[in-house]
């Protein structure tokens, strides 16, 4: 079981981490891999934006993401969770968030992803601000 959390400057690369959707899965028990990516949309509440700017309160943001990932991993009996979140400016059309889950089964992976993102939005100190065109 493994947890990896990274807060990175600017947009996330479109490249997967080497161990996300791994060509050789970590264990023989992985039956489902689920990857979610959040992309900055060109509109925020009906107004065109150029970018979002993310502010992370560190080290609490990294600590809270790590604790959340560990808790979700155990609760849903997952095999691995990888989380990446941007800080700073991310242009419309670029990625600001990625969550990858390796699980024995699909249902647990989907439930874990939903719960992770809900709790992250509530409990992890990362704020976004629109930068209008």
């Amino acid at each position: 079981m493994s947890v990896l959390v990274r807060i990175l400057d600017g947009a996330l690369s479109s490249q997967r981490l080497p161990h996300v959707l791994n060509p050789a899965p970590t264990t023989e028990q992985v039956g489902a891999t689920l990857v979610f990516e959040g992309i900055v949309r060109a509109n925020e509440q009906g107004r065109a934006i150029r970018a979002l700017s993310y502010e992370a309160y560190e080290p609490m943001a990294t600590n809270a993401l790590t604790e959340l990932a560990r808790d979700i991993l155990h609760k849903h009996a997952l095999i691995a969770i990888t989380v990446e979140h941007s800080r700073g400016e991310v242009l419309a059309g670029e990625r600001s968030f990625r969550l990858a889950i390796d699980s024995p089964h699909r249902k647990e992976a989907l439930a874990a992803m939903d719960e992770f993102i809900d709790r992250m939005k509530r409990d992890v100190p990362i704020w976004k601000s629109p930068i209008y065109i």
């Binding site: 959040g38 502010e55 309160y57 609490m60 939005k121 509530r122 409990d123 976004k128 601000s129």
Partner: protein, 81 residues
């Protein structure tokens, strides 16, 4: 003692600052900090009274003590991600 409560996001933009200084007693709790914030901003009193505070990078219960030198931050998220 004076506690500087860090603020972020739309609240920081609205108030045009990065923290709010409040004066509380030496034996103050998190609840006292919330009350002091509310007293300082009456138009947002109910928001500040219930806003979650972190002390030294962890969410703190209303009854937790706050000491000189603690890093206090107001963590209210609207949407995020």
């Amino acid at each position: 003692m004076t506690i500087r409560v860090l603020i972020f996001g739309s609240l920081a933009r609205e108030l045009s600052c990065k923290d709010i200084a409040v004066d509380v007693a030496e034996s103050a709790t998190v609840r006292d900090v919330n009350q002091a914030l509310a007293a300082k901003h009456p138009s947002k009193a109910s928001f500040f009274q219930s806003a979650r505070l972190a002390v030294n990078h962890a969410f703190a219960a209303p009854s937790s003590p706050v000491q000189q030198g603690d890093e206090v931050a107001l963590i209210e998220l609207v949407g995020g991600g």
